[in-house]
Amino acid sequence: MFQPEDSVVVYYLAGTLLLLVLVFVIVLYAFLHQKKVIQLKGRLHEEEIRKRQAIFDALQEGQERERTRLAEELHDGIGAKLSGLKMTLEYLKSHAEQHRDLIARIFSGVSEAVEEVRAISHNLQPYSFNDRTIKLLLLNYTEELSAMNGCRYDLFIAPSTDSIDSQVKLHCYRIVAELLHNVHKHAKASLASVQINVEDGQMEIVVEDNGVGLYSNSGSQEGIGLMNIRNRVKVCNGAMNIDSSADGTTIIIEIPLPSVS
């Protein structure tokens, strides 16, 4: 039977039990709150990535449009004027005996200017001319680079790259062109190779050289060019791996290809 003196013990036990229930409720609420916070942070993170990607895409598109405009203006505007001047000078060259040497010098200068304008215009927007393949564009580019410093550039580009999405093709060209520009400017290499392969819905780009390594001049810092490449790879949801030493550099980039719907 319940004894009145036992009520103290009962109150004590009841109080302790109540306290434990309170603690349990608080801890349970904390775990549920934690789950909510994790979900919220995940959503915010995804939103941030989407926003950054949209901004970068918009910037890239703006850049490409600007390049196209400049390329067209150079080709159609200054390029056309210089070509016209060249033709006038050619006529003068054959008719003005007195100033033949001077005219020849002017003619040569204008020819060089026309070629330079054509090269700049071409570099700005390779696709503004014909619908050329990556292989052809890179071949032209590496020939120009090779002529400047004597480095040999080997290209191994799979034919399946011709059929990939044009946006990815553009990114691929820009990435490889920037990497080769780095090799040309900084690597002091005698041999560089580019391999582009498409397999299992993924494009693999491998650029290798036998130069002095990435960090020999700039310490441990990456240049702006490499940062731009990283950003491009990120926009394409790809991955980049750099292996660099005093004996050379190998850069491997993997980019998933958009599936055809």
Binding site: D6, V8, V9, Y12, A30
Partner: protein
């Protein structure tokens, strides 16, 4: 009696859990948590003196008076660092600390005496620290919606505080009545107190573990 003895022994030994956890992560501990670790280390000293005084004088109450004082100040300091941006609350905590000191001195020298259990000081200390823990939970859940909760070391300290000081409050309020009810009632009370002390020490150890380096 054997069960009680086991509980008491385990309760005393469980203080090593937060000490080991705190020492492992010592370099990463912030100031309030180092203070908490020093308090746990000092607790070993208090336990030892309590055992010695019981053997020598059959009474270890002076140590308990000092322990209550150190315990209140340590936990008040830990919570005050967390509440430092709440000006009014910080001021209230200072006033509360002064009140406690006055109460503790009065209890030790005028009310119960230095050789008796400091029921008033201990209860007041427990209720205050319990209050701080509840205020912490209020701020954590209502005002800080976007941060992880269980990764905060203060969360585990507050849960441990709730467990230990909550049961302490009830134990010391009802202690004299439990003694009057006989050994069984005191055994139940003492065992529950010891068990909750073990749980609290686990939780304090977990709070120190929150400082360990995170793996990706």
């Amino acid at each position: 009696m054997l069960l009680r003895a086991i509980f008491v022994w385990l309760s005393q030994a469980s203080i090593l859990l937060p000490i080991i956890s705190g020492l492992i992560n010592y370099r990463r501990l912030t100031t309030p948590f180092r203070a908490l670790l020093y308090f746990f280390l000092a607790s070993i000293g208090f336990e030892v003196q309590s055992i010695v005084l019981i053997d020598l004088y059959h009474n270890n109450m002076p140590g308990l008076h000092l322990f209550t004082f150190v315990e209140f100040l340590t936990f008040s300091f830990v919570f005050s660092v967390f509440f430092r941006r709440k000006k009014r609350l910080s001021q209230l905590m200072i006033v509360n600390a002064i009140l406690f000191v006055l109460l503790a001195v009065a209890d030790a020298f005028f009310v119960h005496g230095i050789w008796q259990v400091n029921t008033i000081a201990r209860s007041y200390s427990s209720i205050s620290i319990l209050g701080y823990a509840l205020i912490y939970f209020y701020f954590m859940f209502r005002l800080d919606e976007r941060n992880y909760t269980i990764e905060h070391p203060m969360f585990w300290v507050s849960v441990g505080t709730l467990v230990y000081f909550g049961s302490n409050t009830l134990y010391f309020i009802f202690r004299e009545d439990l003694i009057a009810r006989g050994s069984t009632a005191l055994l139940i009370g003492g065992s529950i107190h010891a068990l909750l002390n073990i749980i609290a020490n686990f939780l304090y150890a977990q709070s120190f573990r929150c400082f360990s380096p995170k793996t990706a």
